[in-house]
Symmetry: C2
Subunit: 347 residues, 2 copies
């Protein structure tokens, strides 16, 4: 058995029941805080304490290049993956700004940019290859490469636990990776590529048919129902890294907050590989990438935010952390009816 097939830890149902009971004592109409109540209750079950905390956030960004990018499926040149790895580390990217404000543990795991990146304390150089193969004509990676990428995710999850992180956010960067994610979702959900493919970073209407055609070609070339095979033939190193990280977090008991379309596809593949991890995944936002809605529906996920974000990098998840922190603060700090001397509901 591979490490990623072992069962996740159990979420503590008795603590969740206590958290539900606690919510009903707080000075507000029952249910009036909407989804924030569920967030606090779920975190209570995951952390095993009635009053959960979200002070220690881990953000691990996985970056890698994609062979498919050569076909012209992105609005940006492939060099941008390498350039953005530097931008993450030096603090200028969106996720860097958000990580700083969250005082998060922050790292970038380079799994395979086409160019080398200078050493930097926040960059882990774990390049498996100079990008994946073009999946429209060959498997994106071989077995050994897939195992390496999964293991890098596993290691990131372990570092998060070692740092006593109360929440794990995985981010991704890779020019061409909405193509890879769309192909994976199409294969896993057995849907035509056209229902899942969107504008990514902002390709033109002209480029869209090419993107769909290449994915359809790949789906014919690599037909398998096995999620591990799908990940190998259609995935990216950074997507496999996320899959490994999500699975390991669930095995270690670290709650996961999933970002946008590509991260949600990684969550879809992770759950397909190991269904026991599902209760450990929280979902942050619905992006404007059309496939995201279908992937979220398949995961029965109801994210908190829908404001048209489509950046990746873990940025949507990082934005949502503050909402979850508010959910915890309300759950933990509000007065009860008896403490405040407030009369309860009459009917």
């Amino acid at each position: 058995m591979n490490w990623y097939e072992s069962n996740a830890l159990n979420v503590k149902q008795d603590v969740m029941d206590d958290a539900v009971a606690h919510q009903l004592t707080l000075t507000k109409p029952p249910g009036a805080l909407g989804a924030l109540e569920e967030v606090a209750i779920k975190l209570a079950g995951m952390q095993g304490v009635v009053k959960p905390q979200l002070n220690r956030i881990n953000i691990s960004i996985f970056a890698s290049d994609h062979g498919i990018a050569k076909q012209g499926v992105s609005a940006f040149p492939q060099a941008v993956t390498t350039e953005m790895v530097k931008n993450f580390a030096t603090g200028g990217a969106a996720i860097s700004v958000l990580a700083r404000h969250l005082n998060a543990q922050f790292e970038v795991v380079n799994l395979g940019t086409i160019f080398e990146v200078d050493k930097h304390p926040q960059i882990i150089d774990a390049r498996i290859a100079a990008g994946t193969q073009d999946f429209s004509s060959a498997p994106a990676m071989d077995d050994g490469q897939l195992q390496l990428a999964l293991q890098q995710g596993c290691d990131a999850a372990q570092r998060a636990q070692n740092n006593k992180s109360q929440l794990f956010i995985g981010g991704e960067m890779g020019i061409g990776n909405t193509s890879s994610a769309s192909a994976l979702a199409a294969a896993q959900l057995n849907l035509p590529a056209a229902t899942l493919v969107g504008m990514g970073t902002g390709i033109s209407e002209d480029q869209l048919p090419l993107k769909i055609k290449l994915i359809e070609k790949a789906l014919t070339l690599h037909s398998s129902n096995d999620p591990v095979e799908q990940l190998k033939s259609l995935g990216g190193f950074e997507i496999a890294g996320l899959v490994g990280a999500y699975i390991r977090c669930a095995q270690l008991g670290v709650p996961v907050l999933v970002d946008g379309f590509i991260s949600s596809v990684a969550a879809l593949m992770a759950v397909a590989i190991n269904a026991s991890i599902a209760p450990w995944l929280l979902f942050s936002h619905e992006s404007s990438e059309p496939g995201h809605q279908l992937v979220l529906a398949a995961l029965k996920a109801k994210p908190l935010l829908n404001i048209g974000m489509r950046l990746g990098e873990g940025s949507g998840a990082a934005i949502v952390v503050s909402l979850m922190q508010s959910a915890c603060a309300l759950h933990n700090e509000m007065a009860t009816f008896s403490q405040a001397g407030v009369s309860e509901k009459e009917v």
Copy 2:
């Protein structure tokens, strides 16, 4: 001319144009931060600086009782208004917890609870009467009372400006006030009460027809197209307080973040009284109260959050502040393409 008829300040269009141009230089695909980009751009126009700040938040809660509550239109006893005023001040209510975490300037303006409240540094005792009259049989307030309530809102806005607040949040508390807000929205939007009335704090299905019937009766009794007349005959002191505060904020140039259903109805009335204030209103969330969607549509408002909150007190707005602070941080602190040496879009 009454003070509330004077024009609002102009939002600075040239600064907004500069903010739009700045957004396009940041290391992300154009538009990839979705609605967060608009938030930063709008705040830039209101604050008159390309890089807006949201460090100083003002939260003013207006509280008052409603004559209509005697008819049994709420799930909670009327004493709860008074009890919650104390709970706000002593730090146990949802909005108190959120205000503390935002390090906000926080005050409770008591415009007319049925019971007296002990003195407290965070409570302004401005009781106009022991609640309004029952609007199903008489005008809720007289002219002098309406002017006093509007003036209290005006004074709160002035205090916010004196404190150099960069954002004004108004909250409300008043058992029975979804009835008043529904009646105002029905009158202003010329819609049947049944399309706007919801469960409020959680009334039973049995109580709903009574709530609708009383509002329909009031709409027949007090038929006027004048928003000031509508506010007087159907409003609450706390709703009028919000109306006065919103209008004065716009006249002073303090951006307003509107909370849920009742606050949005106050915004609707404020814009009906003085249309020039509209550009100063930002909208935070869509509540689960059914009338809210109709009121937001009438205001052409697109709130950031929709997570089934229905608490009032300004709580939804306070939750959304952190999203807006993230919007400012990203806008102000991200590296530009040239700073980071990242290649720009090809197509």
